[in-house]
Structures are given as structure tokens and as C-alpha cells.
Symmetry: D2
Subunit: 338 residues, 4 copies
Amino acid sequence: MIVVMKRGTSEEAVKDVSGRIEEMGMKAHVIVGTDRTVLAAVGKESETLRQELEAHPQVEQAMPILAPYKIASRETKPEPSTVTVKSLKIGGGHIGVIAGPCSIESESQIFESAQRVKESGATGLRGGAFKPRTSPYSFQGMKEEGLKLLQAAGQETGLATVTEVMAPHDVDLVCRYADVLQIGARNMQNYTLLEAVGGVDTPVVLKRGASATMDEFLLAAEYILNGGNQQVILCERGIRTFESHTRFTLPLATVPYLQERTHLPVVIDPSHGTGVASLVPPMCLAAIAGGCDGLLIEVHPDPTHAVSDGPQSLTPEAFDDTMRRGHQVAAAVDRKLG
Amino acid sequence: MIVVMKRGTSEEAVKDVSGRIEEMGMKAHVIVGTDRTVLAAVGKESETLRQELEAHPQVEQAMPILAPYKIASRETKPEPSTVTVKSLKIGGGHIGVIAGPCSIESESQIFESAQRVKESGATGLRGGAFKPRTSPYSFQGMKEEGLKLLQAAGQETGLATVTEVMAPHDVDLVCRYADVLQIGARNMQNYTLLEAVGGVDTPVVLKRGASATMDEFLLAAEYILNGGNQQVILCERGIRTFESHTRFTLPLATVPYLQERTHLPVVIDPSHGTGVASLVPPMCLAAIAGGCDGLLIEVHPDPTHAVSDGPQSLTPEAFDDTMRRGHQVAAAVDRKLG
Amino acid sequence: MIVVMKRGTSEEAVKDVSGRIEEMGMKAHVIVGTDRTVLAAVGKESETLRQELEAHPQVEQAMPILAPYKIASRETKPEPSTVTVKSLKIGGGHIGVIAGPCSIESESQIFESAQRVKESGATGLRGGAFKPRTSPYSFQGMKEEGLKLLQAAGQETGLATVTEVMAPHDVDLVCRYADVLQIGARNMQNYTLLEAVGGVDTPVVLKRGASATMDEFLLAAEYILNGGNQQVILCERGIRTFESHTRFTLPLATVPYLQERTHLPVVIDPSHGTGVASLVPPMCLAAIAGGCDGLLIEVHPDPTHAVSDGPQSLTPEAFDDTMRRGHQVAAAVDRKLG
Amino acid sequence: MIVVMKRGTSEEAVKDVSGRIEEMGMKAHVIVGTDRTVLAAVGKESETLRQELEAHPQVEQAMPILAPYKIASRETKPEPSTVTVKSLKIGGGHIGVIAGPCSIESESQIFESAQRVKESGATGLRGGAFKPRTSPYSFQGMKEEGLKLLQAAGQETGLATVTEVMAPHDVDLVCRYADVLQIGARNMQNYTLLEAVGGVDTPVVLKRGASATMDEFLLAAEYILNGGNQQVILCERGIRTFESHTRFTLPLATVPYLQERTHLPVVIDPSHGTGVASLVPPMCLAAIAGGCDGLLIEVHPDPTHAVSDGPQSLTPEAFDDTMRRGHQVAAAVDRKLG
């Protein structure tokens, strides 16, 4: 940690700060500059101490040097992690493709979705049974009944199923039916939920919050990892910015940035990332070329009659075309789609 | 709802869309313009229908006309709501002042905090027992033990107590000890939690999510109101923007904007809104002059030894000075502080 | 234009507004809804009228239906435009590659840069002679001397040269030496400069401002087009968001979004878009797969001794490797790189 | 400057970096930590060197310690600067009030505006003659004819006149007519324009760019100061964020933040900062209580017929009421309005 003292600080204040650093088991190096005195604190960093020092009236700022996440870091585990569930392979040269409707609406809808995405090469099936909805007056999902339909559709097609869990008390229930849990963007910092999924064995897709920094995202993953569940898949699904022509702004540089810092696989959700069906196929191809480990794509047999997210859902035909082109792009970057 | 068709759309597509609008119980007016055909759908709007129509391949956009929230709207209840708990009055010309430490750390710390903020004119006491922390390695709060200390400090001073609840299964526990529940910014769209606090009688301070729009904020309140709990206090605590010289960006225009649209009282948290103790007093005064119904301020007997949020906590002396000046500003806008 | 009246508006106010609409040569349709009265104004829209109506005390909002840009619109010119200068082809299946250093620093530096990027397959040479620098104390560019060196390096290699112009009074000077003008992001709304480059024949790369919306971006292009210069190339170079791990946030969905609305070619600048050299190659590949018409890439023979933008500049070796992989990705999407 | 080396960096790389630091006339302190080696470079910092080091393949990051602006800094000039032109006093306990229409539209409009705002207590008159407009098809201002009208209205009322200059070649012209120049938000980083106004004696209101950081803002001021013009007034007019219910987001914490770091006065423009007339009065009061040195307010005799910015312009009556309440708030914080 680097502690910058205010201009004209007293020797006493410097002693105060260095004393506090040493009290916490770190070593303090004092560097007297031309305009400022700076202390370098060597040893195990702590955010609590950093805040404490920054609250000192003579301290201008206290900056961390080390990344705050540990288990998620590539420094802890240099080789990339992969997640494999049934036919779904994420990482290790495989780009997993999880496709399906936003919400599970009926038996025929989820079965037709599963069939069609499977035919086009998907390896995972998504479908929401517990739906976080902005308005209390919107459709909230079919809940357990939906989970049953999803499981059946997964079993019929052999696709790994992925579905959201919204509350700690539902984790066990969802685990009974689904192959992979999803934590939605709005719950990325719902710590009791993160702790709950950290306590099970089912892999977890953790979506980045719409205004989460990279450190916050990796620390959210750290909650799950720290709970014991090592199968965490990070998902970039777009951030909230001033742009309003897309639902969110999709920053694909997240993929290589995270891959430099964490061993966890990184998947992209271009459906929420853009919110506009016509923009989804080019962003799928861009994500593949950019090195992602997987895709999460909303596909609906009839988007104009979807109960949710119709405007951003691909038709099965558009999905098929995207997969066809995606295979070629994947091959161009020496990876395998699906 | 206004539906704009794409350029050169067919008559058939217009019929399709108007048919679907009428199917849903609305009346469709078709307006043929020079460049575009537009449909005005008159009747009860539905977000589901809007999305459905926007997913139509011949529709360019579908725009809502009406606000999506109902119970929170001033159109439903024109007169402002107030919340009164013990000495704490929020709204109706009273600016409630809820002050205290970020975390409850010990008996002496919370009792000294309570005593000092009470002496300076606070009417509520804040203090966190369940702490949502970015890192799993940070102090997570004293939990039930902390709640007991908070309750005792509240009883001794007569201050209404305000504390965060993080999980649906903790709502009953927190209600047993606290006068007012707080939903943190990270949980603003934790819908199972909103539903849980919607089912109790204790007033709720709902913090705006760091990237929540006004509609999303009011719809989150709507979840609680719809559950039966009418005592909801909205809290602006800063949004995430590109600004990095403050922890968040505090948009005070939230206050008059919300007051035009909702009857719910609006309070400001300048501590999180700035993250810097020296910026808190001027932002308190600005919020008072801007018409807020309350303030939520972090005050710690010794900020440099706080376990959390030290850099943004006021000393009791700084808080006292802020209150003294705040009374004058409140009087200038015909309101009463505390 | 759609005008939404406030709740409970008077008939008189509706007459006022419809009268004003008809006065301006449009036709007004009044639609009386259950909660609101809405007017649809049919005819040539005007932003001035829209603002005027929105300022009416009984009007809640006035929303435009038509895009505000005209010459830039695909509705005006459905087939995509291309720009060809010497070996540089942008659009029409060709992905132009403009590479080179941030600043022209010396004869040897720009000649070596030109030679190396040419060998790797670039078709354009970038290099700044007039440098917009955040600080007045930073290197401001070699100015005319730099332009001469750039021209000479372009002539030797046959590469088309691209360089920034910062002031209206420099446009003629820069046109004498360069093949393509660049308007920097900070000048995207410098309208006197846009008008000045609208008056010459030299093609213009117009960079998106860091907080410009799509409409603002296209209207900036419209200034140039309206001045008579039809060779405008749009460049996405990243937007300012809360993300701080990259210099800017690069939203690649800009490419397909713009391609749906304008005939102008769209190029990507992943160097400024990320600010981090290691993230540039994957974002180049992503941009190619996502359908861009060109790339603008900072390459420096010795980035650790660059006077500006070293951290985001590729070495010639890294650029060569990127081009090699880029050719394969371009082929996978049926396009030609360089 | 603090340079953090990558994990497992070689001794040779550390020597490289420390050698380069000493070459540039700074002293390098090497601190070997448990996980990282850090170098503290003591002496005159340079952004060029910082970037150079950050481009080194073994360097993780290079962080500046000192503020990059010098003349604008309170460390250079501790006492606050004030600007006085005719009756307009900005700073030193005086809150200057510059009011008037967005655009000068006609003789009667600007004279009536001047008269009305003067009667209500304004000390400056704003009015645009050169208008930066998003669309080339919008009204572009009355130019020199407008300047003449503004000057005449200023002379009649004794108000100091403030008007925008958009191009370096217009600076002399505008200086002939106006008392204070304004640099618009879109031109905050138009460096040739900043240099041009740095060369004259007329005071300058410099508006913050919609996505400018504090350092960028102060460095833009530094361009003017460095040119010799010491009368710079900083103006916060709102930033671009995800919020769409207001035209921009107005971060009032800018006022105390800047006042801690610079001696330059800080004024607030709540008209552009909100874009909504009803939100302007509370934000005026908030700005006054928050410690601003001045206000820039759009007032139009008839906002519903304004050629620009009608929705955010106050009527003379609303302005008068705001001033009346503003005086009381100013008195409460020991300052004088107007």
C-alpha cells in the first residue's frame, strides 16, 4: 500500500501513520519527496487499514498495490479453469453455447426451443423459472413448474440446463433441477445469495452487475469460491452507460482483461448486452474472435409473442445462421464453438 | 403507447400490430405520416405488450406514455406522505436527520455515537449490524449482537434506529430490534428481499441502486408498497458515473424530480454520495436547500479507527457544526431540521 | 412528433398546441386516451418546434419520430459508401488498416513505422503532427515539420496518410500534406472545425466524442456532409464510462448499429478504445468479426520510448501477429483485411 | 510517482526502470515487497515519463502523486481568486448571478430579458450570439448582430455581458462587444480556442465538458492561465451519465471539491445541468447552500417561444421568485447573492 501525506504534513503525522502500519504487521518505508512525503507499506494489505489511513486528517490518499481477490487470481492458479457439464464445455479451447428463451413459458415453448438450439449446435439450454422483473406487475416466472419443464427439455436433448436462482432459500430447489445456476446482474452483490451458492457443488454463472467494476466482479466471484464452490463462470452482459440506443453497453475488452487476471472462464451475453436482436449476431462473432469462453444467447421460437425480452431474442433461424458463421470465426482463432 | 412502424412498412404489418393492440384490450389509432406510420394505443399500458410489439420485425420502436409505477405515483395519492417514528419525522416540513456510524463496532462506540449525534440534534440513529461488503475478507458486521446494542442505544437516547437488512430470512429478526429497516443500494433490485419487507409494518429506507433509473427506483418501491407496507422512504445515495474524485456522483436533482412524481419522502445520503468527509457538510446544506425530506449521515466518534467508511465519516464536532449551519439553511427554505 | 399532454390538461391547452403545430406546417392528430391526451404531429419535424412544445406548461413531453440527420441516413442513400485513397480502401468488403505512431517524433521514427506497418499489410499510415494534449505542458506535436515527414513516409511506402487537424485555420495546411484528415474525439462538436473540413475535398475520419450519443455523432457527420464533403468515415474510439481498468470503454455494437442507419463506413480504434496494448489485438479481431470497415491502430517501433500513448501502442511484432490472425478472421466473415 | 512492477519481475527490469527515472532527473527508491517491487520516483513528475514507464513490459502501473495542474492549484496561490466586472462579482463572498436567454433572438427579446433579470437582482446578462448546435439545421445564432444587441442591453442595464466564443478567429470580435467570454462544454478541450482566449484580457467562463474529469477540467483552465489570462471562472454545467430523466446530471460536489484544490471561482449552471425548468429553482438554492461563487441561469421572457432551450428556461416570474428565496439561503451561509 502507498500512503501519500498531505503537503506540509508534520513529522508527527508521518510517525502516527507509520506506527499504525507497523502495528498492523506491515513494514513502513518513508520516502520524503520534494512536494510530498510518501509511505510504502510492505506486507499483507488490508482494505480496512487502507480506509483507516485514508481517514487520517494528514493523509491525502492511500492506494492499494495488490489485487484484493485471491482465489480468483491467476497468481494463485496460473492455468485457466474449465467447466464441463454434460455436453457443455466452457474454456480450454471450447466456446460453450448456452441458448434458449428468457422465460420458460410452456412445455411446448421450452421443448421447441431446446430442440431448435440443439440442432444448431448449442451445448447448453437457458430458460428462466424465477424471473427478476423490474416491475411487480410483470410476469414473474413459472417457478418450480418451470424448473421441471426445463429439466425435462434438458434430459430429452442432452443439453446442460442453466437457470437463475434469486434467493438463498431457493438454492437447494433449483439445484435439484438444473445443471448450472445463474446469478443475475442485479444480484451480483447479493452476498447472502453468493454465500448460499458457494455452499453447493453446482457450477455457477455469475453475471456482472450493470455498474460493477472488475474488482467488484472478481470479489463477488471470490465470495462463491471462498465458500467452497470452485466452478464459477464469469459472464459479461453489458454495463449501464449514457448510451441509450442499446439496452446496455457491451464492453468486450472485459474478456482479455479478465483472462489476464483470473483463471475463471469468461462468457458473453450479447442479448442483454445490446437488447436488440439485429445486433446480437455480429456481437456473437465479435465475442468469439475476441477470445470468449462461451456465449449466453436468448433464442425464442416466436420472439413477437415472448412474455419477456422479445426484442432481443433471436429466432431459431437467426440463431442457426449465427452458429454457422460462428464456427468459421472460431476456427479462425483456433477454437471450437459448441 | 406509441408504436412507430419502420419506413415503407406494409399495410398488412400495420393491421397485424393494430390487431394485436386491440386483442389486448386497447384501442389503436393509426396515423399515416409522410415518412412513417404511427399507431397510438389507448388504454391500460403493459410493458409485456410493449416489448412484444417492439419485437415485431416491422416495428421501429414502441414507447410507453404512462409511468409504470402506480401506488408510488402522485397521480394516485397527490398529497406527500410522511413517516414518523419516535422523534424521527420525515416529510411534512420536517427534515429527519439519521446519523451514526457505518458499522456498529462495540457498545461504547454506538452509545457514544448515539449520545453525540443526539446532542447535535439528530432524530434518528444509524448503525450497521449486517454489512454488505465488497470483499469476503472484510468485517461483515456484529449481526444480532450489534442489533441489540443499537436497540439499547436507541432506547437510551430516544432516537429512532435505522439498520440494514440483507436477506429475506433476516427480516423478522431485524424488525424485532430496529425502528426502521434499510435496503442497501446493492439490494435495490433484490426482489425477494423487497417482497419480504413489503410484508411487515416497519418503515423502510430504500436506497437507490448505483445505476438505477428513476423508473427502476420507483418500481422497486412499488414492490414494497404492493406488498402492503406503505411506509417507504426513498434515499438518493449517489450513482456510478465516470467521476472518480468522489466515491459516487450525488445528483441532488433527484429530490425535486421525485417530489413531482411520487408522494414518498426523499432523503439524501451525502456520505456515500461523496465518499469524502470534507465534502459531506456542503452537500448536507445543499440537500436541505434543495428540498430534501431527510439526511442520512455517517458520524463516528473516531473516524481514523472506524472499521468501515472512515474516510467519509464526520467527526461529532464536524457533524455538530453542520447541524448548526443546517438549521439556518432549513429556516431559509421554511423547513425544520431534525 | 408525438406530444404527450399532462394529466388533466385543458381543452384550451390542447388547442394551443395543435394550433402551434399546424402553424408550423404540420398536421395535428389529437388522440384522447384514458389518462392522457396525445397529439401526433405529421409532417417535417423540427427540433426547434419540439423544444418549443416541450416548454409549454401543459406538455409533459414531446418526442421526435424521425432521425434528425438526413444526408448521413441510409434512408437517403441505401447503398453503403466507400472511401478509397491510394491503397487504402474502406468499405465495400475491404477493411482498411491505418496504423502508425500516436505522434510523429522524428524522421527515422515515422519512416521506420511506415515501413514496418506496410510490411505487415497496413494500407494507411497514421501519425499526429498537431496533438491535442490534456496538459499544456505535454509535447504538442511537430506541426508542419511533422506533416512533411508524414507526407514523405507516405510517398515512400505508398500508404495513404491520416493526420489530425485541430483548428479551422490549419485545414488548408494539413490538406496540402495529408491524404485523409482526422477530427479528434475532443473536437467532434467543434462546429467551426466541422464546417471547415466540410468545405474541402479531402476525406475525413470523424472520431466519436467520448460522451456522444449516436444522434450527436451522426449530426456531427451531417455538418461535414452538409458542407459538401461526402467522404466521411465514422470512427468509434471508445466512450467514457465508470470503467477505469481501460482508458475508455469500447462499445463494438456501434458498428452494426451505425451500419443499419447510415451509409457511411465505420472504423474502430481499439488503441484509444482500451488504452492497454495487450487488449488491442483481441479487440482488433473482435472488430473485424463484428463487421467494421476499418481499423485505426497505434504502432510504435519502440513503445517504451514513445512521447505519447506508449502504453497503448503495439510493437511492430505484435502488430504483425495481429494482422496475420486478422486476415483469417476477415476471411471467416467474407471480408478482406487491408 | 509510484511505479509498481509486475509479479516476479527481474532485477534487471528494476534497474532499467530506476535508471530511466534517474536519467530524467528524479531519484528512485526501490522498495522490495512480499509480492511486488515498487519504485518511488522523487522529483518533478512528468506525464510523458509516467506513460513511458507504464509502457514498459515489466511495469504493472505507474501512478502520479502530484496534481498535473500548477497555476490553477491552491498550492501555488492559496487565497481564492475573484472576478469583478462592472456590477458582477464572482467570489469573495459574492455569488454572481448571470441570467438571460440561451440565444439572443431580437432586440426586444434581449432588452426585455436584461430589464427583467436586472430587476430581480442579476448582476450579469447571458445571451448567445454564436450558438454551438447539435444539428446543422438548427438556428446558429445572430452572430455579430447579436453581439451588438447584447452589448447595448448590457449598457442600458449596467449588467456585465457574458457570451460564448466558438472559434479562435472570433475571439477578438467577441471581446470587442462582451465583458466576459464563455467557452462551451463542447469546446472545453478545444486547445487552440483555449490558447486564443489565454491571450486576451477578458475574463473567461470555462464550462466543464460533459465527460471531463476534474484533472482534465483544471488542465483546460491551465491552458488559459498559462497563456497569461488569469481571470478564469470554472462552471459546472452537468455531466453525461446514464440518467435520462434530466438532460445532464448535475454533481454539486464539484463546488467544494474544486474549492479545496483551486483558487479559481466556481459557478453552477443548473439550466443545462438539469434541462428541466421546474428543477432549476431548487438546484439554484442547493448550489448557493453548497458554496458556489456564482450562478448561470437561462431566463426567457417567453420560454414557449424560445428558439432554443425553452424547456429549461425560467420565466422572469420564476426567476424572480428563485432570487427572492436565494437571498435568504445565501444569508444563511453568510454570503451575498448578486
